[in-house]
Symmetry: C2
Subunit: 316 residues, 2 copies
């Protein structure tokens, strides 16, 4: 089977079409129409088998994750996703694997109105690189730079669950229906929440390397510090049952792969945020506060500093 047949079979599925795609798959490049008054927001992420996911992870989850991690980046900017490109490097043209991958990818794409407008198919060690483009009204991007002293720090969902799920998968005794395994395999990017936070959140980031590591980027770029009250962490019951309180906290603070949002909101606008958050399809929890003193302090209920064993994933 040649690349053109593979593309026809697995990547021409019925999926979201958009009137702003002037020219989609099948030419040297795609041509896209950006509506007046909007800016383009673009991100790229690669998944490598055995590094970003266990090599035997079901391919439907790989397809889902490949798009989800990029949707999550756009969510953290407050952008609305639009157009994806998929660069897929495959060791072989395995029909079963490709059918699952394509199902996972397009199912998530359709839910978020994302059109696949181009890509590349190559032969080699498995590597999935997705470029995702979205848009937002000019000047309204939520960046990592805007956190100010006194802002509250929020997190969506239940951080730590995905890291616990990955541990189960790596131990080889995972029930694929286990909710933590599901959170790792099928993360739910907080796209609607991110877009709703435009004009309200002062800064945001998505949690890929761990809450402490990623919040650290916000602090560094905003030139501030923060305290997190570890007792406020929204630990899920399933995470607590699996690991107990102390280890659950470690996973929530240091484990990666959550693809939840961590964001800051000025104290004066907390009531507004809390009303808005009731419309979200995910939990939103205040876990701390931005402070002028640089660095991140983890405090227990008595205000004593807590130490963390790990500090997020390092790639080299």
């Amino acid at each position: 089977m040649d690349e053109f047949e593979l593309i026809r079979r697995y990547f021409s599925l019925a999926h979201a079409t958009r009137s702003d795609v002037t020219l989609g798959i099948g030419d040297d490049a795609a041509v896209l129409d950006l509506a007046p008054g909007r800016e383009l927001v673009v991100t790229v992420d690669s998944l490598v088998a055995g590094v970003h996911f266990p090599s035997d992870l079901e391919s439907q989850a790989v397809g889902h994750r490949a798009l989800a991690v990029n949707l999550s980046d756009l969510a953290a900017m407050g952008a609305e996703p639009a157009w994806a490109l998929l660069a897929l490097t495959l060791p072989a043209a395995d029909d079963t694997w490709l059918a699952g991958f394509s199902r996972g990818f397009f199912s998530l794409a359709e839910r978020h109105g994302v059109a696949l407008v181009g890509g590349n198919l190559a032969h080699g060690p498995l590597n999935i690189t997705v470029t995702l483009q979205g848009t937002l009204p000019k000047g309204e991007a939520i960046t990592r730079r805007g956190a100010k002293t006194g802002d509250l720090v929020y997190v969506t969902g239940h951080p730590g669950d995905a890291a616990a799920g990955l541990q189960l998968l790596q131990a080889g005794n995972a029930d694929s229906g286990n909710p933590c395994v599901q959170r790792f395999a099928y993360p739910e990017p907080r796209v609607a929440a991110g877009a709703a936070l435009r004009g309200l959140a002062s800064a945001a980031i998505d949690i890929s390397d761990g809450l402490v590591a990623d919040l650290g980027h916000v602090l560094a770029m905003s030139g501030v510090g923060a305290r997190i009250e570890v007792e406020r962490l929204p630990l899920s019951r399933r995470l607590l049952e699996l690991h107990g309180l102390l280890q659950a906290r470690e996973l929530a603070l240091g484990g990666g792969d959550d693809y939840e949002l961590c964001f800051t909101v000025p104290a004066a606008r907390v009531a507004e945020l809390e009303t808005l958050a009731r419309t979200f399809d995910c939990l939103v929890t205040a876990i701390g506060r931005i402070e002028s003193h640089p660095g991140l302090r983890l405090l227990d209920g008595q205000g004593r500093e807590v130490k963390l064993a790990g500090h997020g994933y390092r790639h080299f």
Copy 2:
């Protein structure tokens, strides 16, 4: 060295800055400003070591090629390149390799006014995936669909040289200064020519898989056929010296990696094209004509059909 240090050291080099980059490297995504009246043109290509280039190719050439193949796609649309994202998967953080790669990439980027606005750095088997975005006036993209019966078929440069260069590299006795090796290692994307052809060329494609294979895509998408007069092929003297006439033709027609443009122009506008082409920094040669009968016919000086041994690169 962690990924952040690698990015700081090798990918924060002084390079093209653009006033339309609202937010570049360092956040969850880049924010870009498209000028009114213009459309976005986007493409992605991956290079895999041992598949798209010999594993021992100097890293400066790898960096150059990774961007060049994408610039070539935009050239074939008539677009002006603007913003690149680089997803680099590396087996190890090798300083010498990275310094060369980054030099090759940024040197070409600077020549074409391309700003690197984002990327991803991962650990794994070498894979380089570049996404390139460009722009053009709304409605002016040159596609693969517009070739009409009677149009002339043109090609830029000297197709076949790159394939001959790759053969020399693969045979292990390449002088890196050999012009054919240079054509493979440092292809020159025809960006200015592509943009100048807007409004004049009826269809265009860049030659990555070979002239016959790539022209074949234009014919299929335009619903036409073509004849190529093989004696008109612009074979370089260096190619003829290396391979003799018959093998040189095979390489020019079937060899890949040229990254030249193949395009069609209505017969009534040939004089206009030939005047314009004098301003290009590359040769432009009429090699055949579009015909209504489907398929591609290769004809010798006596109008007899010539057979070709190979038909372009197949990835699986």
